[in-house]
Symmetry: C2
Subunit: 353 residues, 2 copies
């Protein structure tokens, strides 16, 4: 049997669950490799993936006989088929973090389940720790991202618009073996950089500009995430102390990142250092990265998570001065036993184009 | 007060609800124009949008004083603030189609609500009927899509890969005032066209190919959706009867689309006609289009909806022969009182490039 499903079955046993209904396509992809829309049903006896005509071929080619996953077409199924999966079962797990309240009620009705039980994000929690294959895919996505940034430094010219730069990023990724963008790229220049989530506009790049570029790509399902704040022709004096402060904290955090450290702790250090200089930390310090661009753990001052070996997270402090400008510096980082391994490796000293 | 919120308040009154918590960002954008992450709380006395530091500026610029929406930063709020919103209230609505089971429990706890009540998709249902402004935005998205298709017919050449064509679509949209792609474009050539949801590959276009191109863009938040199946150099004889059958049904359906018609009825007609010729209908006939690419109503043989004036839906029958080829033809259509108005208008006779 597929090793990840084997792990899940042991986990379900430990939780005294007779099975689980998995609805989140990302969790299904994690467990099976199937990248489609459907439901994975783990019953006492079998593993069943139920999909519809649009995805049958995709699902069938994604699994091998060793996975022991039965692929079924929902059109051929009766209400009795669903009811039989958990007959004589007491507790069946579901994904309370993904399933809507409406679908929770539907599942209960459809599968005639006595007790549909929250699984407290077992799959999302497990996904935090990446295996070798997952890390190698994230590394590849990060490598393409670094190369893209090198290309951008050579290609961005005054007079180009933010939208054009965002488009160059996309083009680079598609022509360089990335599946797609990890998210809509942020290219925020001049005063636009004061919005941490700015959408690219038609504003043209000028001499003296500060530009925040937050971008990443997907390689075989896995994401990268990097931000660099760069300067055009020269660095205005007002930008320097803010850039230096963000960079200092980003590098300091990099040293804190290792197995066994409480996320809350080093997030608080950054918040305090920003406050000392009169700046608020208006967003968290980072997030897990994997099959989703944002996944567990959350890195902020309220997080109850500890870092663990082979988590992959972002380290992205930022300072934003409303209506004026902003600075963010971000890397994707693998947590190791006694240190961290930076997976995006573009330079971080003043980058002047 | 904002007219859409005024409508919602009347609706809530009719449902005997003392207020509503709106979590779905698309519903919030529909009601307020705010395109961000946050929660809209409709209390007896006021309309409050709660967001965080990342989106405060965006939210503030999206609303005017006439909207009567108070924008609050969640960092400045205490647990007492949340509890006070619905103090002495009995029934408060929520979006059971969007809120996860986990968040349903969190909302109840956070706002200390006695009775958190399902609102049966009032907002999703209301969004089915588009107003003039919404339709003009969808029309604009459709117009850009038609123009893109004209460009594609001139530009696609033998030897190009599916990925390159998908990329050309993206480039065209971005350079022609579309915000972004409505969804990842499908460019499926030769045998790849037998997968209705194929991802573009490195397969090169050859003479004699059939190519299914399913694409659309977003204009000021509103989507377009169009599919054309085209041919390279000539139309192989095996493709013709399938293409003709799909086109006949697409045109026939276009005539059926008007206010007051049961969706089930004309969907069944297509299914039957396909069956008569030995083909299965493996996906629905269409879907609503608006702020989401897929929204209500669903167009298939199980749908209980009737068409209503100013719904905007797709009409997209398709036939797929596994491992061999597929044909789909799709337009975005506005429902009118006595007919339908096709919003995408590219040609549908054999298109040979």
């Amino acid at each position: 049997m597929n090793m990840k499903i084997k792990w899940l079955r042991e986990k379900l046993n430990g939780l005294n669950l007779d099975g689980m209904i998995i609805s989140n396509p990302v969790n299904i992809r994690y467990l099976t490799g199937i990248n489609a829309e459907g439901t994975l049903v783990i019953t006492r006896k079998e593993n069943v993936y139920i999909t519809d005509g649009r995805y049958i071929e995709i699902a069938q080619t994604a699994v091998t006989i060793d996975d022991e996953i039965l692929i079924l077409d929902s059109r051929t199924m009766t209400s009795g088929d669903y009811e039989n999966y958990f007959i004589f079962c007491e507790n069946v797990g579901f994904e309370e973090k993904y399933v809507t309240y409406e679908n929770y009620k539907k599942l209960m009705h459809m599968y005639k389940i006595n007790n549909l039980v929250e699984t407290e994000g077992i799959l999302e929690n497990q996904r935090m720790i990446k295996d070798e294959e997952e890390i190698s895919k994230i590394k590849k996505a990060c490598e393409i991202t670094d190369n893209c940034f090198e290309y951008l430094q050579k290609t961005i010219k005054k007079g180009m618009t933010e939208k054009e730069i965002a488009f160059m990023i996309q083009k680079y990724f598609l022509l360089n073996r990335a599946e797609k963008l990890a998210f809509d790229s942020i290219v925020a220049s001049g005063e636009n950089s004061s919005l941490p989530h700015a959408e690219p506009t038609d504003r043209k790049i000028e001499s003296g500009d500060i530009i925040t570029i937050d971008f990443g790509c997907v390689y075989e399902g896995y994401h990268s995430d990097m931000t660099r704040t760069i300067f055009v022709d020269y660095v205005k004096d007002i930008y320097k102390p803010v850039y230096d402060l963000v960079l200092k904290n980003q590098m300091q955090t990099m040293k804190e990142l290792k197995d066994g450290v409480a996320i809350k702790m080093f997030s608080k250090l950054v918040e305090n250092d920003f406050k000392l200089k009169g700046y608020d930390m208006i967003h968290g310090l980072g997030h897990g990265v994997g099959l989703n661009i944002h996944e567990l753990p959350v890195l902020n001052t309220k997080s109850e998570f500890m870092l663990k070996e082979n988590m992959v997270v972002t380290n992205e402090p930022g300072i934003y001065i409303p209506g004026d400008f902003g600075v963010r510096i971000e890397d994707t980082v693998q947590i190791a036993k006694y240190s961290s391994i930076q997976l995006t490796n573009s330079g971080k000293n003043y980058i002047i184009i």
